[in-house]
Amino acid sequence: MTEKPTGGPSLAAEDVVVRYGPRTALGPVALEFEPSTTTAVVGPNGCGKSTLLRSLARLVTPSVGTVYLDGAAITNLPTRAVARSLAVLPQAPSTPDGVTVAELVEQGRYAHVGPLRMLRRRDYDAVERALEVTGVARFRHRTMDRLSGGERQRAWIAVTLAQEPQIMLLDEPTTFLDIRHQLEILELIRRLNHERGITIVVALHDVNHAARYADRLVALKGGAVVADGPPAALLTPQLIEAVFDVSATVLRDPRTGVPVCIPYLPAGRATSMPDDRPGAMA
């Protein structure tokens, strides 16, 4: 394996609390993300994964606490300056009709272009590299609505890559994709981390993917961090039960050696599903 480039700005959440009205969606959370690491955020639906990523990406302003990008409060930095080092892919972004892949990816250069917002040579080069790396170069003139789900997601990742960020925040980038496309996206993320040293924070709903592709797992439940550490140490039946409310058997992946969990509904829960067959209540 080649030497992984390291460095880049640090990202940290300090005592971050996010409230939507009276409901606390996240926190208090204190997390630091080392440069050039891959962190997967896992947890059940509504646990605050998205909220954590959104506050790290300044898409929501924390009610309490501060997110620091390279030591400076992110909400005090000009949003364009932030965009030059930090890119975010929100969950299921909607695409306007008729926009081609190339046009979309060019938008990724917004934070880098000059005062007249004209793309220059190195902007087009960055766009080109992003299209190549994500494998969407041959669809470049196709409109987004004519792509499959996996191709569309890769095009969106290309947008964030065109930003040439040192930190990428990805909110459930594999949702709605089939297994092959999920793995392609995850392999792409791993390559970006390994080859370019990009710091990755990715929310994933599949713990096995998280364990396989991340250096570090952060497990959230009810807006709080319940576990934080390397997957090999963290992925235990106890943790799975605590976080997801399921019992689990944890095995070793025979090919990679990373832990793999097989979840089961706890005994007694399996039959508590509402039975909607006619006459079932009788």
């Binding site: 965009a83 008729g98 003139h141 004519r146 789900g149």
Partner: protein, 372 residues
């Protein structure tokens, strides 16, 4: 290659199966009209130029194209020709070109920043706000010590109209915030607010002195009759400022089209940018409406046609919308002057065209099924 006008661009895309890996051949190229955008623009400008020439030639005094050119280059064949072409018809045609262009471009801009293909000034309440404020302003003319017609020729009226248009548009946008994904929600809110403002306008007119009411009424109908260099003088500075601002802002607007979260991630402050671009669009609309009256639908039609031709990149859509709007209004005026014995108000022609176009857009919109 684009699907042309489409009302569903607000929401997430439904999953369309890929045409197949094999179909994505390496030889794919952008649509011809996108590759030859310069030619499309040149064609639009040429058509507009021909319409301006025709405008200068057609009327009770017929002037041959050659004589029009002669008058334009400063060698009119007669004093009558000089007056008719240079003093009457040329300013009228230029006002039509620039006002129509502004309406088209303002429509493109507001449709982009609201991510709503129906958000033209007529349907978002912006035009109604401009009309209400302008009518109120000129109706209060006597108290301000100026006649309504004088007030209509002062630059202040554009600011008054622009503030009214921007304020109304902003209220409509905020009121429909809960149904952001549905383009029709914004339009329904806009139509309701426009109805209210229409009543308020009528009320103001009722309370005003008769002379002011008449002036306001003539203005209100939307016409290019008797538009002269004085009108041009009101129109061009605002048009120049707002058109430049819109073109400079087109890459920001492009980013904003991707939604607020993505826009923030790419380095655009969505709220501030939207407000700024919205103001530009409102002042642009006000500048045009103050001079030509309540001309409807140019801001709806022009951007749709432009997107149908060259896709959604605003760096292309904006200039092309301007040219199409210019051709529409100039052509509409030409038609209004030539189809009937008595010249029709231009607003009637664009309203008929626009109403048909709007119905076409509504009818081709996919009906959401109960299971969808």
């Amino acid at each position: 290659m684009t699907g042309g006008p489409d009302l569903t661009s607000g929401g997430p895309r439904s999953s369309v199966p890929s045409p197949g890996e094999a179909g994505g051949s390496a030889g794919e190229r952008p649509p011809a009209l996108v590759r030859h955008f310069g030619l499309v623009m040149a064609g639009g400008i040429a058509v507009t130029g021909v319409l301006v020439m025709l405008s200068a030639a057609v009327g009770t005094t017929r002037v041959s194209p050659a004589d029009v050119v002669a008058a334009l280059v400063g060698h009119p064949v007669s004093e009558l020709h000089r007056q008719v072409v240079l003093e009457l018809r040329l300013p009228r045609a230029l006002v039509a070109v620039v006002a129509g262009g502004c309406l088209g471009l303002a429509g493109a801009l507001s449709q982009a920043v609201t991510r709503n293909p129906l958000a033209s000034p007529d349907l978002t309440g912006v035009a109604a706000g401009v009309v209400f404020c302008t009518v109120s302003w000129i109706a209060s003319g006597p108290t301000l010590g100026a006649t309504p017609d004088q007030l209509l020729l002062q630059p202040t009226v554009v600011i008054v109209g622009g503030v009214g248009g921007a304020g109304t548009g902003w209220v409509v946008y905020a009121l429909s915030a809960r149904r952001r994904g549905d383009p029709v929600a914004l339009v329904l809110t806009g139509v309701v607010v426009a109805l209210l403002l229409g009543t308020a306008t009528a009320f103001v007119l009722m309370l005003s002195p008769t002379s002011a009411t008449l002036s306001a009424y003539y203005w209100f109908v939307g016409s290019l009759n008797a538009r002269a260099w004085a009108h041009w003088a009101v129109l061009w500075p605002w048009a120049a400022i707002t058109v430049c601002a819109a073109l400079v802002g087109s890459s920001r607007a492009n980013v904003l089209q991707l939604g607020d979260d993505v826009a923030t991630g790419l380095g655009v402050d969505p709220e501030r940018t939207r407000l700024g671009l919205f103001l530009i669009s409102a002042v642009m609309t006000a500048g045009a409406l103050v001079v030509v009256g309540a001309i409807a639908f140019v801001g709806l039609i022009a951007p749709h046609v432009a997107r149908g031709l060259v896709g959604h990149d605003l760096r292309r859509v904006q200039p092309l919308s301007f040219v199409i709007g210019a051709a529409l209004l100039c052509g509409g005026d030409l038609a209004a002057r030539s189809v009937a014995q008595r010249p029709l108000p231009t607003g009637v022609v664009t309203a008929v065209l626009g109403a048909g176009f709007f119905m076409f857009l509504l009818l081709r919109r996919p009906v959401p099924g109960p299971s969808a």
